[in-house]
Symmetry: C2
Subunit: 185 residues, 2 copies
Amino acid sequence: MQKITIQEIVRISIDLFRKQGYNRTSMNDLALACGLQKGSFYHYFNSKEALMQGVLNTLHQYYKNKIFSLAYNDDISAKARMESFFLKQEPIFTQDLAGCLFGNITLETISVEVEFRSVIQAFFSDWIAAFKHIFIADGCTDEMASQLAKQSVMEIEGALMMMRVFEDVEILRQACVSVLKKFKN
Amino acid sequence: MQKITIQEIVRISIDLFRKQGYNRTSMNDLALACGLQKGSFYHYFNSKEALMQGVLNTLHQYYKNKIFSLAYNDDISAKARMESFFLKQEPIFTQDLAGCLFGNITLETISVEVEFRSVIQAFFSDWIAAFKHIFIADGCTDEMASQLAKQSVMEIEGALMMMRVFEDVEILRQACVSVLKKFKN
DNA sequence: ATATCTCAACCAAACGTTTGTTTGGTTGAG
DNA sequence: CTCAACCAAACAAACGTTTGGTTGAGATAT
């Protein structure tokens, strides 16, 4: 009988990596938070890098299934879809004022730990694609939707940074409002 | 006769911290890049944290004197001021595709290394204030200028993140174009 | 002008601690 | 009996920092 499931380990790791960053979070930190010895961690993942890969992949899948998918719900209006998107996203990004794991890890590691680049790129590509689909549903041209989607993702990531700098979740909310103003209908 | 000046040490440190982040950059890395033994570094700064503080303060001052100041040149139009701002800023942010040191360090450290928070906050406050002054010169209300300024800084920081993710400096340029579209005159 | 002193600027080596990882052994459910 | 699930301990390497000593240019004294 195991003390903890892999899913729980990943969930705890997400939290820690998001708050403390990749390099600042030690295997000991992670193990302790999971109630394990750090050596026991290697029963589940055979390196810190492998753990991070698992964490990023799991989180990417979660976003695809639970959040990005909201963009493709053609039953409701484009704007309503974006609102549901934000509603789902907000509590995740605001908890502990730690923002977006992918964004944080990007600025910390992407020039040095190149092994995370492809997952990071895939995550943001999917995010942008989801937003683009919403903007097309709003009546935008392909070109225009593409531009607005990128712009919206950047605004949110920038807002998450400012949210953490000034410790004010309202900054994120205003960014979401700003994105919603881009809609025609 | 010294091998290297403090100014050069700080400049080299800025480059390394910007590329590799705070925790991933060791005192050995920094010393080697400066042609010194890592122990010799403590003749100039008595801790890694003190070095980073020096780096952040120096960079903050540089921005205030050389970049943010462009916003207050009331001889030229608001839009022209923003353009000169971007022109000065771009080569700094795009070199080595490493983005903005303050932005990078924010997402890596702000939840853990709280000692950098006040410098980071001061930097972004001054940046936003500079942009706000430009938007007021463009004829915006105080409220409107404040909002546009924050929005613009967020867009640029978000764009810097995407620039690094997709290794495409064009993303930053487009963000600047997008900001320039906010001007009435 | 030469000898002496001084002190900033450095080096080489070691410090204790923490890092990620490995090893060998124990436990207990099936 | 077996094997996944763990622990306790050790591992080498890297970390930030300290130590003690060397160097040499410039000030001071003779």
